[in-house]
């Protein structure tokens, strides 16, 4: 689907927001993602997966520049068209009987912003958000409690330390972020008997379940596809030692 770019601007260090026209043809669940085509020419070859960070008149993505594909993406201008495939994946499921806690790290905060807006505006329930960044210049939202590794804003330290004492069996955590952070959080949730849904990243070629490239190892030593069985998983399904 070729959609018109409404905005593509830097919002924090190495971080951009890309908004495209919403054709109004589909619904998007928080946690779902799109495969974005970077170029017409076959370099870079594969599409790049990006989670939806907001969905209204526009479909919004927040992306961090890490390599060639995302660097090229920054050069796209308002008014140009971009080819996106989706919505893909399963998304978070919202359970209103528990106390909801959002825990995001770095660019992993992006899908949680959309989740937060759906929880608050459609379900009209409260959720507490904790977002961690390396430093102040990387922060791209003020919609939650902030932690920075260097202490340049908010709580000094890891976002996991910030939520550690809030985990118990009445809580449901929604998490997205670097693997190490998620693994640490999973360990704490096991200990505290706390539920958690995590959004995972994996290298993807197709995004639609055919290449079998994106699999993660599950607790029963089998594989699940991040693109169609996820990207959101119940943390107990995942074999964390293998990540």
């Amino acid at each position: 689907m070729r959609l018109k770019i409404v905005q593509n601007e830097q919002i924090a260090k190495d971080t951009f927001v890309l908004k495209v026209d919403n054709p109004g043809l589909f619904e998007v669940l928080p946690g779902q993602f799109f495969m974005v085509k970077i170029n017409d020419y076959p370099f870079p070859l594969l599409r790049r997966p990006f989670s939806v960070a907001g969905f209204s008149d526009t479909i919004d993505f927040i992306y961090r520049v890490v390599g060639e594909g995302t660097r090229i993406l920054t050069t796209k201008e308002k008014g140009e068209f971009i080819d996106i495939l989706g919505p893909l994946g399963n998304g978070f499921s919202i359970n209103s009987t528990k106390k909801l806690l959002l825990v995001g790290g770095g660019i992993g905060v992006a899908p949680l912003l959309y989740l937060k807006s759906v929880i608050e505006s459609e379900y009209k329930i409260r959720c507490d958000a904790y977002f961690g960044f390396n430093s102040k210049d990387e922060i791209f939202t003020d919609d939650g409690n902030i932690a920075t590794m260097d202490g340049s804003a908010g709580f000094k330290g890891n976002v996991v330390e910030m939520v550690e004492d809030k985990l118990n069996s009445d809580v449901l955590v929604y998490a997205c972020g670097p693997t190490l952070m998620l693994r640490r959080l999973a360990f704490l949730c096991f200990e505290a008997n706390c539920s958690m849904q995590v959004s995972l990243e994996s290298r993807m070629a197709c995004g639609i379940g055919v290449c079998l490239g994106c699999v993660v190892q599950t607790a029963d030593n089998r594989y699940k596809k991040v693109c169609v069985d996820g990207p959101v998983f119940d943390f107990e399904e995942i074999q964390w030692q293998a990540l």
Binding site: P42, F43, A205, V210, C211, L212, V215, A242
Partner: protein
């Protein structure tokens, strides 16, 4: 009048020469949402083994310039579940469904072929003797002409429709292997499967794929595929199916001119799920603009003096 795109393989008639390649098209069903499968000449399902295979540990893929390496390791649900769960859903399609099969011993290939022979919806089988990502069988078979001969002949005994042998490019003389398949009774050969490669992660200082090596596919490999089809065309009489890096009608036409009767679209399906139909359209337009009444006139035309 529109040019004819009809081609034949043995006694099978294909409405057009565009197929989709094994491992890049799932069991077909995944693509229903994105295109009309009936417009394809046919599609080839993910490689089937006797029993379910879990495949290799992740990471399994890595992107390279104009290509990708994969080390999936033939993850599949096994031939029995394929017949039970997937095949009934393909029954009403008006296009050829080709099964790609893999075994670690000749007897396993034969067992799968026997089972598929009872399934009339399977138009042909493609024998994968070229997977670089498994420790037994796979490309080891495909490098040994005697093995290719024995394997082809054994499968021909139990499977009554066309048998296609899919060859590996990771050999010195691919035409020699193609001749062994022809001698064994193969109805066609597909070439090429992926080219073995490696990427090293400079952060961890280790190979990036868990399997260390993987198979290179995508636009980067098409000149190798075209060259190999050209070489094999001069040495065998059976039809050749060209595959490797096809993402545009121009590259598909190059394969046909080199000697391919049919072509397969692989990795390009990942980027644009309906690209095979675009390629088909482009081939039709080319024939018309050149005033060529039938695609058969183009097959191997690059060999003419």
């Amino acid at each position: 009048m529109a040019s004819s795109l009809v081609v034949k393989l043995g006694n099978l008639i294909f409405k057009n020469p565009v197929l989709t390649a094994s491992g890049t098209f799932g069991y077909g069903l995944e693509y229903k949402k994105y295109m009309d499968l009936n417009k394809l000449g046919g599609f080839i399902v993910k490689g089937l083994s006797v029993k379910e295979k879990l495949g290799n540990k992740p990471p399994r893929i890595v992107e390279t310039p104009c290509g990708m390496l994969n080390a999936i390791g033939l993850q599949n649900i096994g031939v029995d579940r394929f017949i039970e769960e997937k095949l009934p859903k393909l029954e009403n399609l008006n296009t050829h469904v080709i099964a790609n099969i893999y075994g670690s011993e000749v007897s396993e290939f034969v067992e799968i072929a026997e089972k598929l022979d009872k399934e009339p919806k399977i138009s042909a089988i493609e024998v994968n003797v070229s997977c670089p990502n498994v420790s037994a069988g796979g490309a080891l078979f495909g490098k040994d002409p005697d093995m290719v001969f024995v394997l082809t002949a054994s499968i021909k005994k139990v499977f009554s429709r066309p048998v296609i042998v899919k060859l590996t490019p990771n050999v010195e003389d691919i035409a020699f292997i193609a001749q062994a398949a022809e001698k064994g009774g193969a109805d066609a050969v597909s070439l090429i499967n992926t080219i073995t490669g490696m990427v090293i992660d400079t952060k961890t200082k280790k190979p990036l794929l868990a399997n260390k090596t993987g198979g290179l596919s995508g636009p980067a490999i098409y000149p190798v595929g075209v060259r190999m089809v050209y070489e094999v065309y001069e040495k065998v009489k059976i039809p050749i199916i060209g595959v490797g890096g096809i993402y545009s009608s121009d590259i598909a036409l190059q394969y046909i001119m080199a000697g391919a009767t049919l072509i397969q679209v692989g990795t390009a399906n990942f980027i644009d799920p309906a690209i095979s139909l675009e390629i088909l359209k482009g081939i039709g337009e080319y024939l018309e603009s050149e005033g060529i009444e039938s695609i058969s006139k183009l097959i191997g035309i690059a060999h003419a003096d």
